[in-house]
């Protein structure tokens, strides 16, 4: 089966979008209006499993659904207001981050160091790169204080990167077809 498998592609994109939505239930609110959320773990996993082309699409779907008002972001938030809020940059960063993770992780054989690198550079660095300036802008802060205040996310995000690495490697053992779309599932 070598043909392009659009159905599988679409369904996998959608399932990761759904997974990111579900992970929104795990959250810790933080002063400053940007929550700590397990959704970033979902972004890292999407990048690793879906790759650089499809992963950002899954994230974009989450953002579109949030934009039309569905309460799917951390803490049951949604609506266009979010995209004018302090966390808007981070949300954009998720899209870029998913691409970067995909590029790094799927650039060769999946290994722990590749995954750890991808999650750190794509899932943390890239996201902050978009998130901190926008947060500074919205809250009327300077770049430096904004950057320092977002250090509060770093321990959690490093932990999530570690977890994402462990999960990806375990998933490769548990379900190898996860990393190639052209194997059909066992049917009933």
């Amino acid at each position: 089966m070598t043909e392009k498998d659009t159905g599988r592609d679409l369904a996998r994109i959608a399932i990761f979008a759904a997974l990111i939505v579900v992970l929104g239930m795990v959250t810790i609110p933080v002063p400053g209006g940007v929550p700590i959320t397990a959704q970033t773990l979902g972004v890292m996993l999407a990048g690793a499993v879906l790759g650089p082309r499809r992963a950002p699409l899954a994230v974009l779907i989450v953002l579109v659904l949030a934009a039309v008002g569905l309460p799917i972001l951390a803490g049951g938030r949604g609506g266009l207001g979010v995209f004018f809020g302090p966390s808007a940059g981070y949300l954009l960063g998720w899209v870029a981050g998913a691409v970067v993770i995909g590029l790094i992780v799927r650039g060769g054989r999946i290994t722990w160091w590749r995954m750890a690198l991808g999650a750190t550079i794509g899932g943390i660095l890239t996201v902050y790169l978009f998130g901190i300036p926008v947060q500074a802008l919205v809250l009327g802060l300077d770049l430096m204080p904004a950057a320092i205040s977002s250090l509060i996310f770093l321990p959690g995000d490093l932990l999530k990167a570690g977890i994402a690495t462990m999960l990806t490697l375990a998933l490769r053992r548990a379900y190898p077809p996860a990393f190639g779309v052209h194997v059909r599932p066992r049917v009933a």
Partner: protein, 234 residues
């Protein structure tokens, strides 16, 4: 109850000729050749014997590594799009087959492309026929198992397929729901290929195919084949 109906030769034919299927280089179906023109065709056999693979050949979900599959005059590799318009496929697990958030939307999806009024009329009528009218706009995930399978079936039948392929559509259901879905499938005017572990249901068909280890080992009268399968299982 068994084997009284003779094959209806006015029905179009399903022909497999020397068909083999491989997954990851491993053969899962070997050299299957058969011509089928009965109205109701049951497919039985052990887990992993190749039943689902056979069913999925019939609308091009699986491609043969060798041989040809011709369904109602359409080649399953070259005329796949047209084939899928004519073949309706019912899966075991309705959860995977219900693609839209609500029953009404899921049915509308099946008949998209028609004009709005026509779609609404069709959807409404179909919902009524399957006793789902009261659930048109609830989340599909909140339906009961039987209702979900009814909806999955409705979304296939609403397109008036010429051939229905159903892969164990009753396994998750209780006696009454299973009978209901079985009756519904057998009462359609379309030709039916029914994969099932329910041997009683198989006996209600006109022809039975028995698979073993990726080979089609027997075709014929329901009673005979079902009995020989029962005996083989000890």
């Amino acid at each position: 109850m068994c084997g009284l109906v003779s094959p209806d030769t006015t029905l179009p034919t399903i022909s497999l000729d020397g068909v083999s299927v491989q997954v990851d280089g491993r053969p899962v179906l070997s050299d299957v050749s058969v011509d089928l023109s009965a109205r109701h065709i049951a497919v039985i056999g052990a887990n992993g014997s190749g039943k689902s693979t056979f069913a999925r050949l019939l609308n091009g979900l699986v491609r043969p590594a060798a041989g040809s599959v011709v369904v109602h005059g359409l080649d399953s590799t070259t005329d796949r799009a047209e084939l899928r318009r004519r073949v309706g496929f019912v899966f075991t697990n309705p959860d995977a087959q219900i693609l839209m958030p609500t029953p009404a939307e899921d049915l509308a999806l099946s008949v998209r492309g028609k004009d709005r009024v026509e779609i609404e009329r069709l959807v409404e009528r179909t919902l009524e026929r399957f006793e789902l009218a009261g659930h048109a706009d609830v989340p599909a995930s909140s339906l009961s198992g039987g209702q979900k399978q009814l909806l999955a079936l409705a979304s296939v039948l609403i397109t008036r397929p010429q051939l229905i392929v159903a892969d164990e559509p009753t396994t998750l259901l209780d006696l009454r729901n299973a009978r209901r879905i079985g009756d519904l499938l057998l009462s359609q005017s379309a030709q039916l290929v029914l994969v099932t572990h329910d041997l009683r249901l198989a006996e209600r068909c006109d022809t039975v195919l028995l698979f073993e280890d990726g080979r089609l080992i027997d075709v014929g009268e329901p009673c005979e084949i079902v009995d020989s399968y029962r005996r083989a299982c000890g």
